[in-house]
Symmetry: D2
Subunit: 104 residues, 4 copies
């Protein structure tokens, strides 16, 4: 599945080294930092200053990938299976929110 | 690749409806909200109160998946390719950070 | 000064109890949680749903105060003087950013 | 009171210029960015790397003040009275949470 691949790729990189995953609170702090960088990018491109270019959209995309990298570290460090969780999230969308919006 | 599947699954769900993706700042606010829920879960399980159970770890995992759902919405709304970005992030890891930590 | 009063009021409340301030990472996680609640409120009032009432603005204001409470806990736990820091921030505004915007 | 002073000082600086406060979502994105900078500082000082000095604690304190500056902008832009909200927060502490922790 999709997210397993991502988690594995992060784990393969980390496992070359003698380091270990950080503690949950430390990874969360890193996540907060990365989310802040995405926020800066969004204000920069879509905010009060509004200058958009494809170069900047690429940076924004890379900030999202940085967040996913950090989330994968958290999941790996706690042996979490993100594909299972993502399937639960999608299931909730289809079941619980099925009539929440007007269908096409 | 991994994240394309995730993005496609989110888009398939959204595209049933007449709604559109929210604006970047609105999705960012949602991301901030979801990150807050993950933070609460982490403080609950690993923080000052420290009561851990497999049920709670499952919730933590689902909070991560909620964040990835939200990031996929942002990426889809802006036509971003997260697999490309994730590959750039991993490339940076292998190239730039190659000698940053002691190898096994 | 302004923020000293706020810090003192928080400390007076905490010091009734046998508890201590949490560790920096734990308070940061709490801050992330509170920021998420503010984000939800902002999306609720100014976001895609857009229903505004004075009751909701009051809740938004209280979410900001919750964040300031949490920041005061962090500052108190580390013996930080927020008035001094705030004066440095304002000084930077007046000096560094003095010609950044057009004056009236 | 304490926070009124802070709000007034921010407003005095802004009101020299022809600019206006940003929209709530834009200020929230800025808040997310500033919170990220605080998170980086906390990981730097108390995280996996652990090198603490008084210089760094000063920077951490200034990051908190940056957040309070941003929150004051949000409050000013929406005509919110943070002292009233802060008093409500403290009132909740004294009333609702009065027996939550063991007293000295």
């Amino acid at each position: 599945m999709g997210l397993k691949e991502v988690q594995d790729e992060v784990d393969k990189w980390i496992s070359q080294y003698k380091i270990e995953y950080w503690k949950p609170h430390e990874i969360l702090a890193r996540l907060t930092e990365e989310t802040g960088e995405l926020a800066r990018e969004i204000n920069h491109i879509y905010g009060p200053k509004k200058k958009k270019s494809s170069e900047e959209t690429k940076e924004l995309s890379d900030e999202i990938a940085d967040i996913i990298f950090t989330l994968s570290c958290l999941a790996n460090s706690l042996n979490l299976n993100l594909d299972e969780s993502f399937q639960r999230v999608m299931y909730k969308c289809y079941v619980r929110d099925n009539n929440r919006f007007e269908k096409k």
